[in-house]
């Protein structure tokens, strides 16, 4: 009888512990998610201002990579370009005396 009561009491305590732990994890979890995204929000809000100062000293050049990407897209597949270069070289070499 005594053993059963003790066991029941232990079970109740374990359950209460589990609930407390779940509440703790829920609160910590929500805080961490909000902290991460709030910090990112603050950072992203300040970033354009910070980059404004940087740009005054070290201006952002024209979008070189975007230009290269666009050019690559216009040129198409690398193999096609190589084939075209090869064809021109072939024609040139044939036309030479």
């Amino acid at each position: 009888m005594h053993l059963t009561a003790t066991t029941l009491r232990l079970a109740a305590f374990a359950s209460a512990d589990q609930v407390a732990r779940a509440v703790e994890i829920t609160v910590i979890g929500m805080l961490m998610v909000f902290a991460a995204l709030a910090l990112l929000t603050v950072f992203l809000t300040l970033l354009p201002r910070f980059l404004g100062w940087i740009n005054a000293v070290w201006p952002e050049r024209g979008d070189r990579h975007a230009t290269l990407d666009a050019a690559a897209e216009l040129l198409g597949d690398e193999d096609d370009v190589l084939a075209a270069i090869g064809f021109v070289l072939h024609v040139e070499s044939r036309e030479q005396p």
Binding site: Q18, V19, R21, A22, V23, I25, T26, I28, G29, M30, M32, V33, F34, A35, A36, L37, A38, L39, L40, T41, V42, F43, L44, T45, L47, P48, L51, I54, E60, D63, R64, H65, A66, L68, D69, A72
Partner: protein, 382 residues
């Protein structure tokens, strides 16, 4: 002859197998007829069918017949080798790499406060975690794996389940992907219920142009902030932001292209098939699975409501109001929940274009759910 017949699939077929095959066929049907997440539901649906064909005992065919049972690599099944990527959490980070390489964070960078909606929607994850433990007496580890369904992010759900509750991986993955497919059905009633017509008509200011430097700095700093706060999310967020850096750096376009096309496609095929094949009738058709499905649905509803209500709360302090429908996109499910926001907005005003704005909380939701998974893993791994 009769002996052989008993070894065939027909001989070993039970009602459970037949039900699972019907579920797999229903997934394929939904994907083809309704076009609900076909890239996921077709591999998963077919995987369910593959995993539920009965075979004679002793044959190594199941995803669970791996080298760990003493027979070594020779004794493991082909499916178990594919399942390795699910079991050890390899596939989800690779999918995140592809997602990072295809995601344009510009709208989020141009209006950072919308990120908070992605945080608010994670309330669905944590309340479901609590509910699973409190109402259904799941262990904390299992509750966390169930709660993350509300993150509406299949790879994150699989990653966390593989770490905390591998025995529930099948039902959790199926629930997560099913509800992601059902976002257009689950979210609109909640959104309509919690917003007025006037709120749904709010128009958003066009996003500003974002410089290349901002786009390049973002993945590095975002990774540092999130990983330092939740180191458990390093694998997922590291790959997400790495993929995005490949895209935005401008010097690794070839790698970015591979990550967002061939790599993510291959991994999606393997992951979908393996997850589907892991749903065995005897372990899947249990009351527990029904509870997981119920909790998953609740999780989606709470997450949607959390995002919408938080947008309304923010409007109390903002001079430039946010359309509260955007809050529903905080449930990550990229890009389906953003599409739902666009459709709902256009039902009220055909000239209101919310899709671009909704992508901000949408991708913030991906980050938020990965952070939530990281916190769960850190807190409950031991």
């Amino acid at each position: 002859m009769i002996d052989y017949l008993t070894t065939t699939g027909f001989g070993g077929m039970t009602i459970g197998h037949a039900v699972m095959i019907a579920i797999g066929s229903a997934f394929i049907g939904l994907a083809i007829v309704k076009e609900y997440e076909p890239l996921l539901l077709v591999p998963i649906g077919f995987g369910i069918i593959v995993g539920n064909i009965p075979y004679a005992a002793g044959m190594s065919l199941s995803v669970y017949d791996d080298w760990g049972d003493g027979r070594g690599l020779q004794g493991s099944s082909v499916l178990s080798l594919i399942y390795f990527g699910v079991k050890y959490g390899l596939f989800p980070p690779l999918i995140f790499l592809g997602i990072g390489a295809m995601t344009d964070f510009s709208t989020m960078l141009s209006n950072p406060k919308l990120m908070l909606l992605g945080a608010a929607a994670q309330i669905g994850v944590f309340l479901t975690f609590f509910g699973a433990m409190y109402l259904f007496d799941f262990s904390l580890q299992r509750s966390a794996a169930i709660g993350i369904i509300g993150g509406a992010d299949g790879p994150t759900a699989i990653f966390l389940s593989s770490k905390l509750a591998p025995e529930l991986l099948g039902p959790i993955a199926i629930a997560a992907y099913s509800y992601m497919a059902l976002v257009p059905v689950i979210q609109p009633p909640v959104m309509r219920l919690l917003t007025t017509r006037a709120e749904r008509l709010i128009r958003m200011k066009p996003p500003r142009e974002v410089s290349r430097r901002e786009k390049m700095i973002f993945p590095v700093v975002a990774f540092l902030i999130t990983a330092l706060l939740a180191p458990g999310a390093i694998a997922l967020l590291g790959m997400l932001f790495f993929g995005n850096l490949l895209k935005e750096s401008g010097v690794t376009e070839r790698l970015a292209r591979s990550a967002r096309t061939a790599l993510i496609d291959i991994v999606t095929i393997l992951l979908g098939l393996a997850v589907g094949a892991s749903t065995k009738a005897d372990t899947f058709l249990q009351t527990e699975s029904l509870q997981i499905f119920g909790l998953g649905a609740a999780s989606f509803v709470i997450a949607t409501a959390g995002g919408v209500l938080f947008a309304k709360f923010m409007n109390l302090f903002l001079t430039e109001k946010i359309n509260p429908l955007l809050g529903a996109a905080g449930v990550s499910a990229v890009p389906d929940s953003a599409r739902v926001v666009q459709i709902m907005g256009q039902q009220e005003d055909p000239h209101n274009f919310l899709l671009m704005h909704a992508m901000a909380p949408n991708v913030a939701g991906v980050i938020g759910s990965a952070v939530a998974a990281g916190v769960f893993w850190a807190e409950l791994a031991h």
